[in-house]
Amino acid sequence: MNFLSLFVLIPVLMMLGLFVSNSRKQIQFITATGASLLLILSGIITYMYLTERAAGNVAEMLFTADTIWYAPFNIHYSVGVDGISVAMLILSSIIVFTGVFASWKIDPLPKEFFLWYSLLSIGVYGFFISTDLFTMFMYYEIALIPMYLLIGIWGTGRKEYSAMKLTLMLMGGSALLLVGILGIYYTSGATSMNLLEIAKMKIPLTAQYYFFPLTFLGFGVLGALFPFHTWSPDGHASAPTAVSMLHAGVLMKLGGYGCFRVAMYLMPQAAHEMAWFFLILTGISVVYGAFAAIHQTDLKYINAYSSVSHCGLVLFAILMMNETAATGAILQMLSHGLMTALFFALIGMIYGRTHTRLITEMGGLMKVLPFLGVSYVIAGLASLGLPGLSGFVAEMAIFVGSFQHTDTFHRVMTIIACMSIVITAVYILRVVGKILFGAIQDAHHEHLTDATWFERISVVTLIIAIVAIGSAPFWISGMIHESVIPVISQLAK
């Protein structure tokens, strides 16, 4: 048993523990312990990964393990990580950890909530550690289904509609994906579904033309690719806090990761031929998401549309197919994951106090909720790309990388995408100004209490991570850059 599998095993044990627990204390103990263990584990993995690389190990994936699972279909349970997956594991662990504290007092049915929450995290972790197409797809689907119940039972607003819409649209994406995966496997002639092995095979060009769009769209739906992004605003707005955090923070990254790792890595020729089409779609995502965010008055909708814009930027950068932009894309996944989780956590905390999320009904909250207010400002600044915070590093790399293309099409697209920075500033500053400063709108808001200790844990952890990436990005961008090279060189062939 490979120790990477611990990432899946710990949530499984959490589920078993929750199954037999019967008081809120026990539930809190189990989830907090499990989430902390996962956080520590991701730290250990990062350390081990960096020492291994420093020692001169140049294998594409480290810590690999391979067990035959379904021999007749050549399905293996194979795990392994490179810099990109390690970065994603860190992100997932931070968000799972903070999500637990953000939903410390979840009501009703805390036990069931955390059972589904753990299942969701199994899917997320499993996806990032596996290198086998089947296992990847399986974990991807595991991550989808708990969403229905999590949103449907614990959500707010039009929760049943949103839950159904989200589940069905993402299932639709996975349907496209499954055809893509089967096509990749059978046309490549590989003898296992392992990514690295299929990458060595050459998939016939005609097959690539069919299966690349399917796979890319399949993952793209989860990455909120226009016009399949509509599940995201509704879903994120209706979901309970921790689920919005995990979903916008990590699950949407499954889409970008998959597009990069599976679609483009395995079918480079088709990726080259078809990139222009998807570039236009992602360009629309970026700009449209930002404009849509301006028009919203519900805090969660604002943040959900801003996620569409930022995740669009991830796919946009991937499609630029050079090292700088791709590194930027992975950094953007990381940075957006952290700051959107912070946003959703803060919105959940504010909503828990004011019982409204409409910005028209709030104002002057900085006076009564100084901690939450300052944190909201930090999240906002990270989101609009203030140097020193993570957003700047990522967006800088993306736009510099994209502009390296010398042809008009790419340059025009880059300039259009750059506009989103300005629009982001508009909606962020508008919200901050409206809800945090000025006069208090509602007399009830004068007696609100500031964040509790468990809320502070959640918020502070996220802020530390954002600042750490923003002020010292070298070690993590170095790690990502190394691992981006194999994919990019595959694309350059």
Binding site: F134, L149, L168, M171, A175, L178, L182, Y210
Partner: protein
């Protein structure tokens, strides 16, 4: 003639012995001894299952009339396990005062249909096949009409027998054409003699109607919802799983063994049937309020998915098919188990009645949810694996478009499965179903099903065993 070779039919003889001894027990035992009728019956059947779950070498009896291949042992074992689960779930129903007197008949009839399916599976000749088919159908009709004073049940029985007989007669007509054009009914001879003349193609089409009816593919499905709704729930589950499971396996072996030369004719036929079955059934399932009708349509669409394994005609297809049937059995029986418990205690079978079920009956709703997720093909439950393998078998032969259509349909099916889950978990109700204490046998059956749903996917041993013995064109 050497009759001793007949003794090789272990499965059939052991089942027959169990049946006959149960019948004698039921007739001659006194009131006191009859108290133990059901436990004894279940122990006998369990022993029968365990004794006969080891594959043997292939053999022929009576010049090829009866043809055994090791794979059949697995199929028969699946049917055995399914029957035991159904009987466990029917335990309470048969212990009621009104039904106690008919208990022996219930067991005898159920096991007769099972015996019929055994012969159908192991047949090496169309006559043998037909005898098996009829032995399986006629007692089935009696079972459907078991609750004869219930109008719906009686109506369902009549509907079933009339359409079954009609389908069989068309099937026999097809066989007669086959005999007319080739002069033999033995499968081994037919494999070379069927060359694809127009008469033979017509014969194939007529013949296969009988099996399509059993599997209830669109457009041969019209009896399914009414019969499922009308008959007692345990019979419905038997009908939807066991009877269907046997028929799909037989269809597969006949297509590759007998009609192998017609592969270019039957593949498009199955293609069309699969698309129509899955789509039509899904569209109709969305509107159903009665859960038994709902599962009837769901089972039609599941049959459509199974066709994806058959259409490939490969060894991989057969393994996927048998595995699919196994998983489908556990999932469907779990769902029907919950429905039957609730229907028996409260008489409620409508989806609205299930509102807020989780509040009062968390365990039953949990099992139901697992079953529905497994039917919808959601990991990590077994249904995901079986669906993946079926799709994979079809994709290996290049049927990407078919796989794509089927996958789009899984989204529709997820929608209606989620409707039930929504009713149980999300909806609130003024007067939810009160807490039900299910009896011990039902609990066992649900535990077996749950374990099946959770484990046979994650542990690959069972699939690998099946794959070793499977064969294709």
């Amino acid at each position: 003639m050497d009759y001793s070779s007949f003794l090789q039919m272990h499965e059939e003889f052991s089942l027959l012995a169990a049946m006959v001894s149960l019948l004698i027990y039921d007739i001659f035992a006194g009131e006191k001894a009859l108290k133990y009728f059901q436990p004894v019956a279940l122990v006998l059947l369990t022993a029968h299952t365990i004794l006969n779950c080891f594959p043997r070498d292939a053999f022929d009896i009576a010049g090829g009339m009866f043809h055994y291949v090791p794979m059949q042992t697995y199929v028969k074992s699946i049917l055995n396990i399914g029957t035991i689960i159904v009987l466990l779930q029917a335990h309470k129903f048969l212990n009621e005062d009104a039904n106690r007197i008919k208990r022996g008949e219930f067991y005898f009839l159920t096991l007769s249909t099972l015996l019929g399916m055994y012969f159908m599976i192991s047949s090496g000749n169309f006559l043998m096949f037909f005898i098996g088919l009829e032995t399986a159908s006629i007692p089935m009709a009696t079972l459907v009409a078991f609750d004869k004073y219930n109008r719906k049940s009686a109506e369902a029985g009549a509907k079933y027998i009339l359409s079954a007989v009609f389908a069989s007669s068309i099937s026999v007509f097809g066989m007669s054409l086959i005999y007319g054009s080739t002069g033999t009914l033995y499968f081994t001879d037919l494999a070379t003699l069927i060359t694809g003349t127009p008469l033979q193609i017509m014969a194939f089409v007529f013949f296969s109607v009988g099996l399509f009816f059993k599997i209830s593919l669109v457009p041969f499905h019209l009896w399914t919802p009414d019969v499922y709704e009308g008959s007692q729930t345990n019979i419905t589950s038997y009908l939807s799983v066991i009877s269907k499971g046997a028929a799909v396996f037989v269809l597969f072996t006949l297509l590759i063994k007998v009609f192998g030369n017609l592969v270019h004719q039957w593949q498009p036929i199955l293609y069309g049937l699969a698309v129509v079955s899955i789509t039509v059934a899904n569209v109709f399932a969305i509107r159903q309020q009665n859960l038994k009708r709902f599962l009837a349509f769901s089972s039609i669409s599941q049959a459509g998915y199974i066709l994806l394994a058959i259409i490939s005609g490969s060894a991989m297809g057969m393994a996927s098919l048998v595995y699919y049937v196994l998983v489908y059995m556990f999932s469907n029986l779990a769902a029907f188990g919950v429905i039957s418990v609730i229907e028996e205690r409260t008489g409620k079978v409508r989806m609205d009645d299930y509102n807020g079920l989780y509040q009062t009956n968390p365990r039953l709703s949990f099992v139901m949810m697992l079953a529905l997720f497994s039917l919808a093909g959601i990991p990590p439950f077994a249904g995901f694996f079986s669906k993946f393998f079926v799709f994979s078998a079809a994709a290996a032969q290049g049927y990407y478009v078919l796989v794509f259509i089927a996958l789009l349909n899984t989204i529709v099916s997820l929608y209606y499965y989620l409707l039930v889950i929504k009713a149980m978990f999300l909806n609130k109700s003024e007067n939810p179903i009160e807490n039900i204490k299910s009896d011990f046998p039902v609990k066992i059956s649900l535990v077996i099903c749950t374990l099946g749903i959770l484990l046979i996917g994650l542990f690959s041993t069972i699939y690998n065993q099946i794959a070793v013995l499977s064969f294709g064109m």
